[in-house]
Structure formats: C-alpha cells, structure tokens
C-alpha cells in the first residue's frame, strides 16, 4: 500500500510538470527587444527573433514590430505575425527609447520583471539620439553581438559597465543611491557604445560625458582597465590603468564629509618627448602628475554631481544610510556634502627597449 502511495505522489509531481512542456522548435527565441513610445502614447515593440529555419550558418534574425496599449499587449500582438510565441528567457538586450527613460520607465520594466518566463540577466540600454526600434534593427542588420561589444568596452575602456537588469534593480532597492544605464547610439550606421545615462528615481536626467563615465566606474569599483593621460603634447605621460580600488568613507569628525581613497596601479604606455622616466625620482614625478590629474578630474566630477546633476549615482546617501546619518533624508543633501579625494598611483612598469620575445 505504502508503495502505491509513494508511486502516486511521484506521479503527481511528475505529471504536474507536463504543463511546462514546450518543444524548443515552438519557441521564438528573442535576442533583443526595443521599446519606443508612439506619439499617441502607445508602446511600440521591436523584437529580433533568431531565425532557426536555416540550418546553414547564422543569418539575420527576423524583425517583428507591433504597437499596443501596454508593453505586454504589444509584445503579445507579435503572435499574429510570428508562428511561434516570443520566448524572452534568452533575451540579451533591452533597448529603451529616450522618451521612455526620461518619463518614469518603472512601468515599462514592470512587464519584464513580472514575467515568470523571462530572466533578469539581460543588459539595458538607452537609445542615445535615435529610436530604440532603429537601434534594434541596426543590431540585426549588422549582425553585431552587442553583448560582446559591451563586454569589450567595459573591460578595456571602462566607459560602460556590465550591470544587468538584476544589478540595476538591486541598486534601485537600496536607499540613497541613483541608477545609471549604458547607452548606445547609431553613428554613421554603426552601433557604438555611448555615454552613460544617469537617473533620478526612475527618470533619466541626462548623459554623463565620456570622461565622466570612466570616472563614475572608477569611483564605483567597476573599472578594469583604461587609458589615463596627464600633461599635454610634449609633456604628456600616458598610462594604462591595470587595476584600481576606491574606498569611500564618512569622515569621523565631520559627518557631512566623505573621503575617497583611490588606489591605482598603472603602467606607463607612452610619454611626450620632454618626459624622461629613468630613475626613481622621475617615476615619482610621473606618479605625482598622474595623481594630480585623477584628483582634479574626480573633484570636478564630484562637484558637478553635487551641484549640477542632482543625482546621487555614486551613492553618498547610501553610505550615510549605512552609517546611520540622517542627512540623506533631507532635500538637496548633495550640495551639503563635502568631499575629500586622495589618490595614490603606483607605477608598475615603465617599459624597456629590449623585449624578451
């Protein structure tokens, strides 16, 4: 008797799963989705679906476009053109148009967060200066792997980061921190990773500059590798940052003061003709000038965040929240914060004439 009960239980569990049965050939695997807002306030969804009908080498995906009252509605309407239902779990990219990003995009994301079939591991982009649909079409036409593009840019330049929707939502849940999203643009019909968009709450305020994007990633410990130049033309010292670490702490005496401690390891990659790096004194000089450059840039950037951007993307408020400082609850707390930046550059390698290989 007990045997049969156990067998029955197993059957119940097992057959229950049949609900979820779906053949891989019945799925329209979505690679990327772009969402635009039409003039009459409707959502326009543009989706790339991987074309599995051709067994030869990978070719262009199929583009579907539809307009609906909600994101889900417009996405579901695609079924009328596509023989298969959209399958979002393998989606890599979601592109939002500037309109949507600027206008409280929480509700737009809602569908992707709530949908239990989809994942939250895709990358978000803001379409910088073009429609999201055009950007998505362009991704398809160029056969570009935007994931790799983002990866390479983040790894070797640092003007974007690899935060997926999950990471962005995690940041959003924390008090006293504002989010940023990567952006992409079409430049001469080529897709290009562009400057990062910064937000206040769920609404986009504007774009950081290219330089600021890198500094932002430096301050948030997202920077792997980038190029740093101090001085000009013949006096320039070019260095490649190979690792960096930023620690942010509240000053012990002054509660409104935040200290940044930035440690950078760099290799000298090129110098102007007036610069000679031969002895330890000259290395120290080079380090100092690099330090000054970074320090000045970071100070400018912080000043701009405090006074101009009015968006706490670095997370001052979050630091205060953690240290039980209530200042972040006040309106305009950013302008009351004082900052102190301390930069240490350590030159690891200044290069030599002979190479071992």
């Amino acid at each position: 008797m007990r045997k049969y009960i156990i067998a029955l239980l197993i059957m119940v569990i097992a057959f229950d799963g049949l609900n979820n049965l779906r053949e891989v050939t019945d799925l329209a695997i979505v690679k990327a989705i772009g969402i635009d807002m039409t003039e009459d306030g409707q959502y326009k969804t543009t989706a790339i679906v991987i074309d599995t009908s051709n067994k030869e080498a990978q070719n262009e995906g199929i583009i579907y476009e539809s307009i609906g009252e909600s994101v889900h509605d417009s996405a579901r309407k695609i079924v009328n053109e596509s023989p298969k239902k959209l399958y979002l779990a393998q989606m890599e990219t979601l592109v939002l148009s500037e309109d949507i990003a600027k206008n409280n995009f929480e509700d737009t994301l809602g569908f992707f967060i709530r949908d239990n079939e989809g994942s939250n591991a895709f990358y978000l982009f803001v379409a910088n200066g073009c429609a999201a649909g055009d950007l998505v079409k362009s991704i398809n036409e160029e056969q570009i792997n935007i994931k790799s593009l983002l990866n390479t840019s983040a790894k070797y330049r640092g003007n974007c980061n690899l935060n997926s929707l999950n990471d962005i939502l995690k940041d959003k849940m924390k008090p006293g921190i504002d989010i940023t999203i990567n952006s992409a643009t079409i430049d001469n019909e080529n897709i290009k990773i562009s400057d990062m968009a910064y937000f206040k709450g769920w609404s986009m305020k504007g774009y950081l500059t290219d330089q600021e994007s890198i500094l932002y990633n430096l301050l948030c410990n997202n920077l792997n590798n980038t190029i740093l130049v101090a001085g000009q033309s013949d006096d320039r010292i070019g260095a490649e940052i190979i690792s960096s670490k930023t620690s942010m702490s509240l000053d012990k005496e002054n509660n409104n003061k935040i200290n940044f401690n930035i440690k950078i390891k760099a290799n000298i990659s090129e110098t102007g003709s007036n610069v000679r790096i031969l002895n330890s004194k000259q290395i120290e000089d080079a380090q100092n000038s690099l330090e000054e450059r970074v320090k000045a840039d970071v100070n400018d950037f912080l000043l701009k965040i405090k006074n101009e951007y009015d968006s706490d993307i670095i997370g001052f408020g979050n630091l205060m929240y953690r240290k039980k400082d209530d200042l972040y609850k006040e309106e305009n707390y950013l302008s009351q914060i004082e900052t102190d930046v301390n930069v240490e550059v350590d030159i690891q390698n200044q290069g030599g004439v002979t190479k071992k290989w």
Binding site: I10, I13, A14, F15, D16, G17, L18, N20, L21, R22, E23, V24, T25, L27, I29, K31, I50, T52, S53, N54, K55, Q58, Y87, A89, Q90, E92, E117, S119
Partner: protein
C-alpha cells in the same frame, strides 16, 4: 548385484556411445566399459589393454618357456585359466585407478565422466582415461587486459583451479568441491583463503549452495541466482570474471570465489559498486596517473545514464538554463524534425540498443555488415531524411561511448534500465524529473546488500581510508598495508 556386466548392459540399452570391449582369456574374461565420446582411446589401447596383455604375456614366458609349438593365444588362454587372479591395480600403467563397490557408488557417473570401467570377475575397477574435451587457455574475450596477464579461464574446472593455484601457492587456499544438479552432477567449487576470508561468510555461502536442488547447472549464473535469491536490486552483487589474476586479487582481499565446471567464468562475492568501475589494470599502472582514468570512468558512468535525460529536459522544459547560442543551435537542428524530442530520443536510443544487441548476438561474419549498415542508416541517412536531428546522434553517441567503459553485462543492463527511467522522468518534468530519478537511483543503490555487506561501501558507510585506497585515487601498493575490515578479520598484510 550378481552379474555386473549384465547390469551394465541392461542399463545402457539406449546408450549407443557406450562401448564394451571384451578381452577373452580362457574361461575368464576381462570387460572394459567406456563411453567413446569421453575417453582418449589411444590411452586405453596404450595403457589399459597393453598393460593387461603384456602382464599376461610376461607371466606366460616365465612359466612356459619350453612350450614353443603352440600359438601365443592358445598359450595365453591356457595359462590364464590355470593361474590365480591377476592384480589389475598393480598392472595397469595409469595413475588414477580405483576399485569401486557397485552397490555403493554409481558406476555410470564414472563412465559418464570419462573413466573406463574394468569388470573382472564381478570386481569393478575404474581407470581415468578422460579425453581432452576442453580448449586451450586463450586470451579473455569479454574483458580486455591492457598490460596484465593474458590468460583466461576455460571450461574445465581443474584447469581453472590450476590457473588460480599457479598464482597463490599456499595451502591456505581452500577448495571445496560439491557435485550439484540431479542430472548434470556438475562440479561446483568454492575457493577462499582460509586465514583471510571471514568464516561466517564462507559458512553462509556453503549453506546456500548446499540447499541448491536443480536438474542441471550449465553456467555460473545458475549458482549466482540461487545464492542471490534475496537480491531485489537491479545491481549485480557479485562479480563475473574471466581473468585468473582478477580472481586472485579478490581472493587475497578475503573474498570468496565460486567456480563451476563447464563455465569459463568465476563468481566473486561479495561485490561493491566501486568494483564495477575499478579495473584490475589500474594496479598494473603508475598509481598517481590512475586518478585521471578513474575520474573519467565516473564521469562516463554519469554521462551514460544522464545524457539523453539531460538533453530532453533542456530542450523541452528548461530552455533558460543553457546559453542562448547553444539553444539556438539546438533549435536550428531540431527545425523540421517531425517528432517530439522524447519520441526522437526513444527512436534513436532503441535503434542503437537494437544495433548493439544484434552486434553482440550475430556471428562475426555478419557483424561487419551490421556496423556499416548501422553507421550509415543511423548516423547519416536518418539525419539527411530529417527523421532525427544531428544533435540527437551526438547525444546517443556520447551515451553509447560512455557506456562502453563498463564490460560486465549485468552492469550494462542496469545502466540501460536506469537510462530509460531517467529519460522518462526527464520527459515528464525536466530537470526536476532528473532530480526525482536521481533520488530513486541513489535509494536503489544504497539499499542494495551484497551478501550481508553494504553495496556502496566505502562511500556509505563512509570509510575514508578505503576511499583513499581505491575510489578516486589509488594508494601505492607499497603503502597499502592493511586489508579491508569489511572483508576480513586478519588486517595486516605487510609491514
């Protein structure tokens, strides 16, 4: 029994292969009864008949040296009639001769074993003149030996014992013989090393064997099924092997070996799960490098059970668990295949099992045709025709190749069965189904008892010393100084 010869004749009415040779000497006669099929007839001519004839001739020459005119035969007859009984036991030039009492012993057992029955004045002697009905020792066919000994058991139990005794020359290697089978009277031998093997296990096995009552025993598996009667598990709890070196290795561990006449396989018990994964050849290679080999074997064990199930669950339920490029590849390959993935998998797995089964059963001549047809039809034509996807071929190939790591037919059957169970559960509820099937598999594995010993030893019950010795790594033989506690009470094996 008044007249033994009459008795023999009456009983062998239907036995045309029984031959009775009559040596007539005066009033007395000597009758030789033997089975033509089983004896070596040159041996009978050279050592039995000639011995008797020469003995008589010698005595005749000594006694009647002056009688020259009569023919030799007359003289013989005359002489034999007058003189007292000759003692056959001293006369015949064959080592194994025995006087038997027909009342007590079954003379036909001897005749059917290749003995010659000599009836002289109602006294019966049996002389062993067995012909060689067995083949010579050759290489093992079902187990491959890379650099170990190349000999293997044959159908003759005495040769098999010889092969083992050749390796273990101690008087402590006990051999207990029993004759089982009402009709077949097959020799069944139990071997163990008396100062290593556990007494209670030996007793247990002997008792089980004593209880066997059956018409005939044709293979060692007959014994196996009798002594394993309580084994409900799918897993084999004793090892079948063809190799004397494997048997010797297990004997030295304290295991018990059962040999059956006419079966070229020995039965070793108890067996643990790791024994079917480990190979004796590991002992003949450098111990450090064996680790990798062993890990490969465990991986292939998992692969051969799991691959089709995993594939099914990934493409029918859990598409989000794989990288999108892989999913795209799967989807592209599956495009246009008319069957659901489960049916496709079943078709391919079954065709491969059929191919494998017919490859095993068919003779070697048609085997080549079979493999060509199989490779062409299953590998290529089925894909071009769009009946199955190429990825399914890869899945089946991985499954089959991994399965080839295991040579024991019982293990292969278990793996087949569990592969099907895993596939069924995977097709019902994906990865969760594989989880359920894994629970069932592990439950089945750990509930197996091999002759009072836990089958999954040394993993459960946990024994780190033993795991280090033989599970994933192999301890150097020079450092392995203790026997396994589970198999013997006599632990120290070297200093």
């Amino acid at each position: 029994m008044k007249n033994l010869l009459e008795y023999v004749k009456s009983r062998s009415k239907d036995l045309d292969d029984i031959f009775i040779r009559r040596l007539c000497v005066d009033n007395n006669e000597i009758n030789l009864v033997y089975n033509e099929a089983l004896v070596d007839s040159t041996m009978i001519s050279n050592f039995v008949v000639r011995s008797i004839v020469e003995c008589i001739r010698e005595e005749k020459i000594l006694n009647d040296i002056e009688e020259k005119d009569n023919s030799l035969e007359d003289k013989l007859n005359k002489k034999l009639g007058n003189k007292k009984d000759i003692n056959l036991e001293d006369t015949i030039a064959i080592n194994k001769i025995k006087k038997i009492d027909p009342q007590q012993e079954n003379i036909f057992y001897y005749i059917m074993s290749g003995f010659v029955l000599i009836i002289y004045k109602d006294i019966a002697y049996v002389v062993e003149t067995r012909g060689t009905l067995t083949r010579g020792i050759s290489e093992p066919t079902s187990e491959n030996s890379i650099r170990g000994a190349k000999d293997s058991f044959v159908e003759n139990i005495m040769k098999n014992i010889g092969l083992i005794r050749n390796r273990i020359k101690t008087e402590n290697l006990a051999y207990k013989e029993k004759r089982l089978g009402r009709k077949s009277k097959t020799k069944v031998g139990i071997m163990y090393i008396s100062d290593i093997a556990k007494k209670d296990l030996v007793k247990y096995v002997e008792e089980k064997i004593d209880k066997i009552d059956i018409d005939g025993i044709l293979d060692v598996n007959y014994i196996q099924e009798f002594i394993e009667e309580k084994n409900d598990s799918d897993f084999p709890i004793s090892i079948n092997t063809q190799r004397p070196d494997v048997v010797s290795y297990y004997l030295l561990q304290g295991r018990i070996v059962i040999l059956v006449d006419n079966s070229p396989y020995a039965l070793v018990l108890p067996a643990f799960f790791e024994d079917f994964i480990n190979n004796i050849d590991d002992l003949y290679q450098k111990s450090k490098n064996v680790t990798f080999t062993k890990i490969i074997r465990y991986i292939s064990l998992i692969l051969t059970i799991l691959t089709p199930a995993l594939y099914l669950s990934l493409i029918t339920f859990d598409q989000e668990s794989i990288p999108s490029e892989l999913l795209t590849a799967f989807a592209t390959q599956r495009e246009g295949v008319p069957f659901p993935a489960f049916v496709e998998a079943i078709i391919m797995i079954f065709s491969f099992e059929i191919l494998r089964e017919s490859d095993m059963r068919s003779n070697k001549v048609s085997g080549n045709t079979l493999s060509i047809v199989g490779a062409l039809i299953l590998g290529d034509a089925a894909v071009s025709a769009g009946i199955v996807s190429p990825i399914m071929i890869i899945v089946v190939a991985i499954t089959t190749i991994s399965g080839l790591n295991f040579s024991d037919i019982n293990v292969i059957n278990v793996l087949r069965k569990w592969r099907a169970i895993f596939m069924l559960f995977a097709s019902l509820c994906g990865i969760i189904g594989i989880g359920i099937a894994t629970i069932l598999f592990i439950a089945s594995l750990v509930s197996t008892v091999s002759y009072t010993k836990p089958f999954t030893y040394p993993v459960s019950p946990l024994n780190f010393t033993e795991m280090r010795k033989n599970l994933f790594t192999r301890l150097s033989i020079s450092k392995d100084k203790k026997r396994q506690k589970i198999l013997t009470n006599n632990l120290t094996k070297s200093r």
